[in-house]
Amino acid sequence: MSRQPRSALGVRASVRAYGLAVRLFPAGFRAQFGDELAEAFAEAARERYARHGLRGLARLWLETAADLTVHAGGPRLAAWRGRDPGLSLRDERRTARRARPVIRDVRGGAGMLETLRQDVRFAVRTLVKAPGFTAAVVATIALGVGATTAIFTVVNGIVLRPLPFPGSERVVMICETNPRTSWCGASPLNMADLARESRTLDSAGVGRGEPLIAQIGGESFGVRGGIASPGFFRVLRITPALGRLIEDRDMDRGANHVAVVSEAFWRSRLGADPSVIGRAITVDGQALTIIGVLPPDVFIPIYSGRDLWRPLTASIDNVDNRAWRGFVPLGRIKAGETVASATAELTALHEQLVQAYPEANKDWGLRLEGLRNHLIGPVSRTLWIFLGAVGFVLLIACANVASLLLVRATGRAREFAVRASLGAGRRRLVRQLLTESLVVSLLGGACGLALAVWATRAFVSLAPASIPRLGEVGIDGRVALFAFLLSTATAVLFGFAPARHASKTDLSGTLKGLRVAGGDARLRAAFVVVELALALVLLVGAGLLMRSFGSLLAWDPGFSPEGVTFSFMLPPRDVYPDGQAVGAMQRVRDEAATVPGVEGAAIASGGPLFPGGDGTYAMSIDDRPPMSPDEGPPVEYYNIDPYYFRTLGVKIVRGRDLSTADTFGAAPVAVVNESLVRRYFPNEDPLGHRVTVSDHSAEIVGVVADVAPFYPDQPVRPLIYWPTDQFRRGTGYLIVRARPGVGGIEKAVRARAAAVDPRIQLSAFVDLESAVGSNLVGPRFNMLLVGVFALVAVLLAAIGVYGVVAYSVASRTREIGVRVALGATPDGIVRQVVRGGLGLAAVGLVVGLAGAVALGRLIASLLYGLPSTDSLALAGAAAVFALVTLVACWVPARRAARVDPIVALRVE
């Protein structure tokens, strides 16, 4: 395809779709000719497009659908029936025909394949003769199949396909559990012991992300790095692109000054130097030797995109190291062992570790979870919801198609009656109609597949980055098979009822010109009720997501986020040991505050919508004993400077703010939030009481307003703020509030920080408003996707209602004419027709609302605390629904009212 790099999207999508359609041919044939088939089609597609544009492509696809049906379907059918005579080179058809009577007996005579060929040829001819009908059906099926296939592609790529490394299904997370934690982590020392003792594990290891600062050639820059034990890479079966990975010999103190870098880092920072192994690089002030380069497409769960890995060295002697569980623990189960057997063995081993190291391991248990499940579990639910929603759209599309087929079959009742009276059997007629719907469905399916290629790309580019494995999403054989089965099933399931129906028409009645429509009308009415009910369920879903999104948009933290930016500050540990980092950060803050346009600057260990803060249950008040976990929610604590509340705009509601007098050595003080007061001092004044957390005890001197959490379903946590000077840490956020509209703040602040000490690292500045925005990406995406589905569903259902009502008006023209002649008013006629349509709508409404309430629980996880029976969403959806159906009924009703009795009675 390199010859025409600029060929149009339609051609590329067609070629891609045909490449998948080639799979319909039997395997042996495909192996022999598959590539050539695709190449020949590609040539034809390019030529047709060049000469006739999209019309040429459409025509080609119509021919191709017939070609595939006969030449891919035929041999498969024959093989299935156990006899494949192959394709004759002799012109048997022509010789045979000569001997046949003028009116052929289509029931006997011709073989199965020959009949199929005739049916297909006839179907193509009839479809070409009715371009409007064909286009409507193909477009509807393409829409349904395309959307469903696109979402299936995403589900397939993320949920169904195994993770992209060998034997990934045997890799588990080995989580140490505690009633108070929900996240999965493990202590490196415990893991090392487990890995050594276990007979069910092939390998195990831990890893953790760490921000690092690297220096190359005088330039100093932040690196997203990580520390890992050798087993971490062994579990993932990573083979280095250059050199070697971290091994056991790198774990000893003194030998651990080594680093493995990513391929991207090797390219961007090390000039893709093939002799880079052995080169030294300065990281966090230490010289490390580069021992390996990771492969370009390496898969590292949770810490993807990390650029530099160092060996994790934790001294066995220090009990704190054993209690430190902030690591991702991976294990690979040996072939032949199961998760259950590994769980049993590891739990027993872990129990021994609890006995051996009670101070670090008391109250901790063990749980194994498949890695894939751990990574995609939360997302897979959302994706299945999407697939369900789009499945509804498909069903509605199918019901419309069935409705169209039914109308068409009814319109051709005369043709069938003639054919039947000339000797065509009922089965033959049904087969003919089914072939027609098969050809048209396959064509729609092919267009749908092309649409899916495009829609999948759109999904991947619009989806929030928090969805894992998005890069792996793509159309493969399973997806093509899915689309093919979907279109075939559509054809058979939804073509069968109309076909059967048409074949049953009363011969003499039809030939005499009498209409027999009772059964049709009931069937179509049933289709419409189903469509309406499904559409309403989607409408309610979209309404709920919209409401939920609205509540996120309305987030009011209690202060204006406008102009607030933050950056993570990291003074080098070796230059500023212990408490000295606080002083350095304060100097940076003071410099930042004097930048023109800056209204305030502060330091904090965390804050609303930026990560940080520590949680604990071990808080005690005054001299009371520490609380147990079941006494309340965890208490969070931040350390902040005296400018924090002022800079953000959080109100002090009682007592005083922290002040510059609250220095190291002065009496320890704390400020708490209203939630903490409500929870622990419901009826007393908190001022003057003491709170103690991890041996740090302080007097409460003030109470501040709560900052509402971003997600409304989350409670406001009780919170303690300590002064940075009294609760010292080596890092913190620099928070800057600038006057709205002032630019260049980041550059100016960085310059000031560099003037204080160029070795102090500042991460990229993030403004609070865009942090809000990035938290809205996921919910907005959910809302838009389901909203689009609902919109399409409602449109299709409206078309369905319109079709039924319009058809009933058209078939009752005579009756309406008589009524008008007998004195019925136009208003009366409109009312009568609309009433008929709304009757259907009412049934659809009841069924749909019941369905929406029943299915509502499924999307509760996307609603952030909004109940799935939210009355506003239900009422809104019902209102939109009523309006749309009313319009869909009213348009044909108006036409009915304009019926001229004279014309109407002359029709027959």
Partner: protein
């Protein structure tokens, strides 16, 4: 060695098969070339679709009417997915037999004045 009786067993040929043989008489060709030839011969787009063509080619390969040959020099870098086919001796005999059959029909038609004298068949 095939006798002319072998060739006669294939008659009458499907028009598309005859077309493929005619194209190959002009020289080795790839699949799309045959599709184009069928279109030119009948003046109809989509006369021969890839699925139909390759099923016929498979039969013709199996019956030894054509065989696959190496891609001609100079064409190889264009696209390695393309394969070229050459007519076999039997294929040539079959084409000759079909031509003879048609010629017989033509002369018969002339005799009954369906065609004017000298008009190309």
């Amino acid at each position: 060695m095939h006798s002319s009786r072998d060739a006669a067993a294939f008659l009458p040929l499907k028009p598309d098969v005859f077309t493929i043989l005619l194209v190959l008489l002009e020289g080795d060709a790839h699949g799309y070339r045959m599709i184009k030839a069928a279109e030119e011969r009948t003046g109809r787009k989509g006369q021969l679709q890839p699925g139909a063509l390759y099923r016929l080619l498979k039969q013709m390969l199996d019956r030894d009417l054509v065989r696959e040959v190496e891609t001609p020099a100079g064409q190889a870098e264009r696209d390695e997915r393309r394969r070229y086919y050459r007519i076999t001796r039997l294929g040539r005999q079959v084409a000759e037999a079909e031509a003879a059959r048609m010629a017989e029909l033509v002369s018969l038609s002339r005799k009954h004045h369906l065609l004017k004298e000298g008009e190309p068949a």
